[in-house]
Amino acid sequence: GCKGSSETGTSKNENTSEEENNNEETPVEVQKELVYGRGGDSSSLDPITTTEGEAFKVTVNIYETLLKYSEGGTEVEAGLAKEWKVSDDALTYTFTLQEGVKFHDGTDFNAEAVVYNFNRWMNGDADKFPYYTMFGGYKGDEGHVIKEVKAVDELTVEFTLNRPQAPFLKNLAMSPFGIASPKAIEEFGDKLRENPVGTGPFKFVSWKPDDTITLEKNPDYWMEGYPKLDSIIFKVIPENSARLNALIAGEIDLMDGVNPSDKAQIESNQDLQIFTRPANNVAYLGFNVTKEPFDNKLVRQAIAHAIDKKSIVEAFYGGMAEPAKNPMPPAMEGYNDEIEDYEYDLDKAKELLKEAGFEDGFEMELWAPSIPRDYMPEGMKVAEVIQSSLAEIGITAEIKNDEWVPYLDKLAAGEPEVFMVGWIGDNGDPDNYLYTLLDKDAIGSNNYSYYSSDELHDILIEAQTNADQNARNELYKQAQEIIHEDIPWVPLAHTTPMIVGKKNITNFVPHPTGSDIFTKFEFK
Amino acid sequence: MREKIIEIIGLRTSFFTDEGEIPAVDNVDFHIHEGEILGVVGESGCGKSVTSLSIMGLVPKPPGKVVGGEILLNGQNLVKLPEKKMRQIRGNEVAMIFQEPMTSLNPLFTIGHQLIEGIKIHTKLDKKKSREKAIEIMKRVGLPRTEELLDEYPHQLSGGMRQRVMIAMAMACNPKVLIADEPTTALDVTIQSQILKLMKQLNEEMNTAIMLITHDLGVVAQICERVVVMYAGKIVEEGEVQAIFKNPKHPYTEGLIKSVPDIRTKTERLYSIPGNVPKPGSIKQGCRFAERCEYAFDRCFVENPELYPVDDNGHRVRCFLHTGEEETKHAGAFTTSQ
């Protein structure tokens, strides 16, 4: 992901200068309105109340968090807090806030506002504010990380923790933790979800459900000279191809959710350009390791050898992905590049099967998601390819699917024996992959493999509490080796999703989290 | 002698169906005098309705078509007339009423609407005048409660009243000729006699010529002056009522008259014509009645007889027994039809 973003970064600088020249020559004609096409509507505009990615695409432009991620990356940078201090025991965090920031309703942003928001969240529950679980639960819960949030003075906030949390700062930068105007919260209560008031570069204007959300420029935005755009319209067009058609027709300016198969067509179109979002995801073929015959490591390895990741990526990711060998994306700190993947080798696969005592193969169900996901735009089709490959080593697979939500329910309940699914990182920390997806603690929630390794557990817990990044990285590399050997899943691919826009777009760097902030975005 | 108001010469009307051409009306000629009542009798399917529709220019097209002959109304050939001219004649100079008073009125429009519509088309009267005229004509045909009736729908009326409405509609513009296609068949006897009386009365008062189609010989005898007998698309006998009933020349006419049970006397056994009414077009050769005729002889099966005059009063018959030459020759020399 880093490589892609830095490239875009350089070209961005050139573009900026060019664009300034252009501006001088033709000052009038510059487009100031962005129409962003996407596949689904927001479920809420109060980001803490939802876990849906579509919601954050809008809210990151309305709300700001104390800290934010770097452009095109997941390192933490100053946000509403311009600097911060961590105590040595990693239990006290002190933030100094930006001065002169105002909410869209004209009220001042200050330490009290931060305290107000955190108190609101920590006093909620999983139903009201699901995302607050990032901090180990709610006020009064045993695992709750935050002991207290205190306004030291007008512009200083102090967080006291119950126990150290390594990704604490990364968590704070997550989009759900945008700070809302306390006045608006009091005024709207639960209706804040339809009446968002933040400090961000854009103000909320209107929302036509399942159709458009319109934002306009915040003229009092604290970053001098920004935003560049006058307004943004988020437009819902569910079908990927229909959305692309709309883009070609000029009805929209920018879109995500591009069919990989359309890449060639887009490339040949003079008026369009492709941006890539750094990969922060993984698609995998999981085994329920508690079920026969997948409790046998040899069987799992055999299947790993039977999957032609290259062809799959070629055909159904339009090349916009790389075959995966680890559960976490390569751009992430702690990625173990030394691991050698199970190569595509049907003979070897057969051998392993024979060794495992399944010379004649067996029958199995292969579950696949029926709707496109970022990490797996054509899950059903990939499943079909895998099905064909398995057939060659004597395994008869029946493809099964379900609606997305019940599908996840089934996975969580450990029903399917072999399944395809994936994960999009929340905060750019390996913990968000390895612990969340494969630790024994996560069985019943996101550990769909029901894989349980005490060795791995110990490593991951240590990495969670150790504040030294290098030490953590080593621990994670170790973890990846264990996982590679035990192979509870076959990692399939890390996608670099495409974002397609008009040629005259500049200063746009897609963010790995999937939510883009359009502060600097502009048209030539 | 009175003027011929309608004269039909060699009329041929056919239907073109999958089975080929069906000559429903085959070389028919007859005429209607001014102010007379002409009866047309014949069994079902013999072409009575098609003849009358041909006069009105209303033969359903496709599949029907007038393929030959002339229909002269006061000397003007209606067959050749363009639709626009024809429209001005329909309902104005020649009017028509139909058998089923129930289905002949549009169920979705009020009586008034349907009556006034015809008047407006031909008289250019305004709405109010037309209405007055409608009421006047309704009274004339003996309809009660005329004002209210105008706003009622056909289903609210009894069969007899509906037929009176039909007659009122037909008579609205004082037509010279009224064609009545079995106007009383669907009615009860008591109502039938009322309607017949009304028609007779209108005929006398307004001097409208009436072509009355029926299969009831009683009706013919009761109100017609002359009668035309049809069989399988052809006229088999024509003449004054007296002549036809007292001295029928055609075996069919005679059989027909004899088949009807009389209420005045108890007949021991009815006469009956053997066999069935043939479909038009099914007999290609010879006299169409030959197959059912007791007197048929060889010639009848090969040659088509013409209408031979019987006397000077217009009594004509289509039978070889009455050609003059053949009559004596073949008298009594019967061949059965089998």
Partner: protein, 334 residues
């Protein structure tokens, strides 16, 4: 007429109740846990259980049904599990979008279908008749989702004449008042937007209109043929009425009842069948609202959405039935 209207209205009640029952039971039978859906991939078992209790999903079905009916009778369609908004407020824009689309489609279908049918019957066996009926036959055989895609491909992508998706020019949005955009743009006096909205309507409404148009044309033709053979048409002609009026007044009024029946049926099908068209043309209508909700296991939305559409359908048919009586004075008597 009053008694007839009342009787028809009363007959609607058991149907409506039956509908709520069906809607209710269908959705209870769907596997999947709504609590889980709201809380998302990271939810814990406890929080799911908690929410389940809160939503009453652990109650026996009849208790839930009674609650649901109570709500319905007070005009409360429930609350969307996903957006937490009251459905009665949320649903109108979607419904309006579909109504506008269906209405325009139906107007196209009726105008063209009825007239094509009439002219075909009038000039039976003419070349017009043959052409129209062959087109109509192809029309009724058309998978509309395929037609929609082909239309889009030809007129938007290849020719670029018409917009591909949506209801309005995104960059020139309509100020929604009634959410029927044609009406709204007129109220706002924005002719430019009116034209835009109309342009957006063309492709989807034609796709949607195809089948009803073909069916209407066919039924009009056969109904007209039957009527035009009837005695009263002959009577009208015998009076000297112009053929045009014989056809368009005397015959049409009599032939219109089966046509109306079909129009009623098809309007209902349009409301439901719009799902396909709405998906292809990105139309934010009720079909998609329901379809998406099924994916999200948003029970209340699916229930209320289907119920609203079906109720609409029932009332359209009621209106059609009343129209029968209005057209045909004989009907109210039996």
């Amino acid at each position: 007429m009053f008694a007839y209207t009342m009787r028809r209205l009363l007959m609607v009640i058991p149907v409506l109740i039956g509908m709520t029952l069906i809607v209710f039971s269908i959705l209870r039978a769907i596997p999947g846990d709504p609590a889980r859906q709201i809380l998302g991939q990271r939810a814990t078992k406890e929080s799911i259980a908690e929410l389940t209790t809160k939503l009453g999903l652990d109650q026996p079905w009849y208790t839930q049904y009674i609650e649901y009916m109570k709500g319905l009778l007070t005009g409360n369609l429930g609350e969307s599990l996903r957006t937490k908004a009251p459905i009665s407020e949320e649903i109108w824009p979607f419904l309006a979008a579909t109504i506008e689309l269906a209405l325009v489609a139906m107007i196209i279908a009726i105008l063209i279908g009825v007239n094509a049918g009439i002219i075909s019957a009038w000039f039976q066996n003419s070349w017009f008749d043959y052409t129209a009926m062959v087109i109509a036959l192809i029309g009724v055989s058309m998978p509309i989702f395929w037609l929609g895609l082909m239309e889009q491909w030809a007129f938007s992508i290849q020719l670029g004449w018409l917009p591909t998706t949506g209801r309005e020019n995104i960059r020139n949005p309509v100020d929604a008042i009634t959410n029927l955009y044609l009406l709204d743009t007129l109220i706002n006096g924005r002719m430019d937007q009116f034209v835009e909205v109309l342009k957006h309507l063309i492709l989807p409404s034609i796709a949607l209109a195809t089948i009803p148009m073909a069916i209407i044309a066919r039924i009009t033709r056969s109904s007209m043929l039957e009527v035009m053979r009837s005695d009263f048409v002959r009577t009208a002609r015998a009076k000297g009425v112009k053929m045009f009026w014989v056809v368009y007044k005397h015959s049409l009024k009599n032939a219109v009842i089966p046509v109306l029946t079909v129009i009623g049926l098809q309007t209902g099908l349009l409301l439901g069948g719009a799902i396909l068209t709405e998906t292809i043309f990105g139309w934010p209508g009720i079909g998609r609202y329901i379809f998406d909700a099924i994916g999200f296991r948003d029970y209340p939305v699916v229930q209320s959405g289907i119920l609203v559409v079906a109720t609409f359908f029932v009332f359209i048919n009621l209106i059609i039935d009343l129209l029968y009586a209005f057209i045909d004075p004989r009907i109210k008597y039996n």
